[in-house]
């Protein structure tokens, strides 16, 4: 193998640019790990989704019932709409908050204001807190008894106690807000990085042309940033679709199924109802969503290449 390697290299030395030899050696570890952790399990998931397997019993038969059940039983479409609400609002507000915070930080840096570092770090720290702990912390803040801090704060502006975690819609909103808090940092970093690459002469030119701040933002900054914003959007959408640790710790999916997002539903089917078939069928649905998102991502990347 060694000799072989040397030969190609000697060859390469003579002929510059003929790097066409096999890339396999460089890629084998990567291929092996990904095949082991993704390809085999996906094959299994799809197989199990066509069975009536139970987490406990070893025997199972092949059937398509899990899918029929999934699509006809109550709860599936509620779960999808819950997930969509959660993902849509999380993503939109993470982007908006991330954008404005990074804009404010860049402005602050321009004016050499002290405190930009503190703001940056504070937002970043939220990003490094594990999801379960975020769920626990927000759960204590949303506490609906008289010792709950949010309701106490609201009482000063006369907005009586709110059922943050026991009203179907409000609980979904509560979960989404906690998720926005968690995810804003990632968008902030990406956009902050993007803002620093903005050619300052272009903005200066716009200013001289008489564009006001809003016009500069919408006509100059946003168009330049749009590729980064799109990539950001897709990454956080996928992340949010796959989230469940925080929701599990915050509401456990309740009340009823009001906050049961798709990943949590997979977990509950398998580990609470012991229903492998239903859980894996839901997992295949999530997989399908993941693949669709990838397609969108590729379309966007393709456009960027052009």
């Amino acid at each position: 193998m060694d000799a072989n390697n040397n030969m190609t290299i000697n060859h390469a030395e003579k002929k510059r640019g003929s790097w066409r030899s096999s890339p396999l050696l460089w890629l084998i570890p990567l291929i092996a790990v990904l095949a082991f952790v993704f390809v085999y399990p996906i094959f299994q998931i799809v197989r199990l989704s066509f069975t009536d397997a139970n987490l406990i019993d070893a025997d199972f038969d092949y059937t398509i019932n899990s899918y029929i059940r999934l699509f006809t039983l109550p709860g599936f479409y509620q779960m999808l709409s819950t997930t969509s609400f959660f993902v849509f609002f999380s993503v939109v507000f993470q982007l908006i908050c991330g954008f404005f915070i990074s804009l404010l930080i860049v402005q602050g840096e321009k004016f050499k204001i002290k405190g930009t570092v503190i703001v940056r770090t504070a937002v970043l720290v939220a990003w490094a807190v594990p999801g379960v702990i975020i769920g626990i912390i927000w759960n204590t803040m949303y506490n609906e008894t008289d010792s709950g801090i949010f309701n106490y704060i609201l009482s000063f502006i006369g907005m009586g106690p709110q059922p943050f975690l026991s009203d179907p819609l409000l609980s979904l909103l509560s979960v989404t807000i906690a998720n926005i808090w968690r995810g804003t940092a990632f968008s902030m970093i990406l956009i902050y990085a993007g803002l620093q690459t903005l050619p300052s002469d272009v903005i200066e030119a716009a200013r001289i042309d008489g564009a006001n701040a809003i016009q500069r933002l919408t006509r100059v900054i946003l168009p330049i940033l749009s590729p980064i914003l799109l990539i950001n959007l897709i990454i956080i959408s996928i992340d949010t679709f796959n989230t469940f640790d925080m929701v599990m710790a915050l509401t456990g999916g309740g009340p009823g199924r009001s906050t049961e997002v798709i990943s949590l539903s997979i977990y509950n089917s398998i580990f609470n109802k012991f229903n492998m078939g239903e859980g894996t069928a839901t997992a295949v649905v999530l997989l399908f969503i993941n693949v669709m998102m990838t397609m969108v991502y590729l379309k966007v990347l393709g456009r960027k290449d052009k």
């Binding site: 790097w19 570890p29 790990v33 952790v37 993704f38 299994q44 915070i101 503190i118 912390i137 859980g279």
Partner: protein, 280 residues
């Protein structure tokens, strides 16, 4: 003169918005610290107090003595370090090949890697649990780290490939003329100039692995191996006793190391992330 006035106004409004942002982002952390220092009566006092009347450090003593939080933290540290090393060891050569070599199916290969990035860890963890249990490698540290690495490998590879693409090919060619083989080129020429990229990907891997929940939650049966993200769940709610204050203390202990690290290294983290992100 009017310029100065607008400057002051801008600065003032900037400071105002900073304050708002800081309150929004620090309040939950402040609240959990406050809870962790309250005694049982004060936890349920209505109305709630922002700052406890009596500071109860004993909560921390209880948590440190009676729970395995320290062990969990240590486990997390071990897993994160091993994951970072393994991921880099696999991703750097792969990224180098993907950036420098031309071969058939390269585009397709890149797409497949990207596709795996999109797949939820919940989807793959359940079959892996069954498989590991059959083969008898459940609760094996090295196998766990391989799964952790697999979760972060796709984006690490893409990220590093993107970074290497920005390094001019001239460097490689000069190295080859000097008689380096490809491996030596990577090690002696390319790696040293890509340290910022490697640094930012390291941070991303570390943060992701630190917060990773699904993989250890499903793949580990043995509580002695739990990372802190999973271990903390066991502290949450038990039947006989109110444990909110202990839970808060445990939470603070488990986020403290990361916060300290972030505050100390924030300058490097930001510059690594931004330089890496833009090029990547």
């Amino acid at each position: 003169m009017p310029l100065k006035k607008t400057n002051i106004m801008i600065k003032g409004s900037l400071y105002f918005s900073y304050t708002v942002i800081l309150i929004c982002f620090l309040f939950p952390l402040f609240w959990v610290v406050s809870l962790s220092l309250k005694n049982r009566q004060e936890i349920f006092a209505a109305p709630p107090r922002l700052i406890p009347k009596e500071i109860a450090f004993s909560n921390y003593a209880h948590v440190l003595q009676n729970t395995s939080v320290v062990q969990y933290l240590f486990n997390s540290g071990k897993i994160v370090i091993a994951t970072v090393l393994l991921t880099l060891a696999i991703a750097i050569p792969a990224a180098f090949a993907l950036s420098r070599l031309t071969f058939r199916w390269k585009r397709e290969f890149l797409l497949i890697i990207l596709m795996t990035q999109m797949i939820s860890a919940v989807v793959v963890s359940v079959p892996l649990y069954r498989f590991f249990s059959q083969v008898g490698v459940l609760n094996n540290f090295y196998v766990l780290v391989i799964v952790y690495a697999a979760v972060v490998l796709p984006f690490s590879t893409w990220f590093l490939k993107g970074y290497l693409d920005t390094i001019p090919n001239d460097l490689d060619e000069a190295a080859i003329i000097d008689g380096c083989n490809r491996w030596q080129t990577l090690r002696k020429v390319i790696f040293p100039v890509s340290v910022p990229g490697v640094a930012s990907v390291t941070i991303l891997i570390a943060v992701q692995s630190w917060s990773q929940f699904v993989v250890p939650f499903i793949l580990l049966d043995d509580s002695r191996l739990y990372p802190v993200s999973v271990g903390i769940v066991n502290l949450q709610s038990t039947q006989t006793s109110v444990t909110t204050h202990y839970l808060a203390a445990g939470s603070v202990l488990s986020i403290l190391p990361v916060i300290i690290l972030f505050v100390l290294l924030q300058r490097y983290i930001i510059s690594a992330l931004t330089s890496g992100a833009v090029k990547g």
